[in-house]
Subunit: 217 residues, 2 copies
């Protein structure tokens, strides 16, 4: 029974890695679409979000079946519950990616953000993609040093997010209301994307170290 359970846990882990990898591909395409006003790529991101949702759903089903069949207790039980929460966060990362793609589709053929903010969004996009790749690696290896790196990268995203507000609210801001709205939303989506990654990292740290991390962290 124990062996079957370990095998099922590995299956859960493999699926989490797979979903994280889909999310990383999604944010890579979404930020490219956003920064290059590539509406065809934006459409692809929006269409492919279904795959992430379906994969997350299937993982949830598997986790619930494991709970029913294996009746895990103590740490094993918490691992399965953590997997359910990680899957929910990955699904939301996919949503953020989709929101970013949608912004670039709405404004096409215009660029989403004015020139003065483009380097900031290119950097935020690269950070989000990097974070998603690290997250995939963290889920694969459970190497908690990567969780630390993700937190550091998230600090950079937060700083850029604040800098967007500084720019938009500064005296030299010449953007129209539409630029202000889009920059505000885009910045928030980039920031939330990274936040979810940090929240997942904390849960993986639990899986690796046994420290229980509450759902809202």
């Amino acid at each position: 029974m124990r062996e079957v359970f370990q095998q099922e846990l590995r299956e859960v882990q493999d699926r989490l890695v797979e979903i994280a990898s889909l999310v990383a591909d999604s944010i890579q395409k979404a930020t490219t679409a956003f920064n290059e006003s590539n509406v065809a790529l934006a459409e692809i991101v929006i269409e492919e979000d279904d795959r992430i949702d379906t994969a997350a759903l299937e993982l949830d089903e598997l986790a619930i079946q494991i709970l029913a069949r294996q009746q895990p207790v103590a740490r094993d039980l918490r691992i399965v519950v953590s997997a359910l929460r990680i899957s929910a966060s990955l699904e939301r990362m996919g949503d953020m990616s989709t929101h970013i793609a949608q912004l670039s589709r709405y404004r096409f053929p215009e660029k989403v953000v004015p020139k003065s903010l483009r380097p900031t969004f290119v950097e935020m996009g690269q950070l989000d993609v990097g974070i998603a790749r690290m997250l995939t690696e963290l889920l694969r290896t459970q190497d908690v040093a990567i969780a630390e790196q993700i937190r550091n990268e998230d600090d950079k995203v937060d700083a850029l997010h604040l800098s967007v507000f500084d720019k938009v609210l500064g005296e030299s801001w010449k953007g129209q209301a539409v630029d202000t709205v889009d920059s505000t939303l885009a910045s928030r989506y980039h920031e939330r994307f990274a936040d979810h990654a940090v929240s997942i990292s904390k849960k993986v740290q639990y899986l690796a170290t046994g420290d229980w991390i509450p759902a809202d962290s």
Copy 2:
């Protein structure tokens, strides 16, 4: 064993009702603080969010203990997993409420939104408060007719959310960038608050009818 389990499920339900009631109080204060620029009330909302987080956390612990002790299967198992998800959504509704309160604190003594949008935000606030009260009632009674009402109210919130963008992006908009940013974020927080309520309603419908609702709905 079955009787103990039913009693524990009632305890879970009571706690969900209690947290929903805290969330309803929170959004009522937050929207009042927001619409009346009442910074003292905003501070209270921000401080009291800890209570919601703690209550959600304690409920999660209880649910995990029930899984471990009672080893539920089939529908019973899904009820407990649903409770974990409902608690996570309630916790996030509290976060949205806190974000609304924070906006009014940041801008104090200025009002957060310009005059032309105030009636819209008053209405959105009332809808969110009404939705939170209905949600509390839905969790208490599991009367699925209330779930339907919540969806209808959410449609009104969505329409107001879109109307904020129409106004902000319209030719008659005279707001500064700060007004545009705040209106965009505030509208998004109000809309997300209602969305989480709809997501919870769907899960309660499952509890009542046995139709399994995926996590991302």
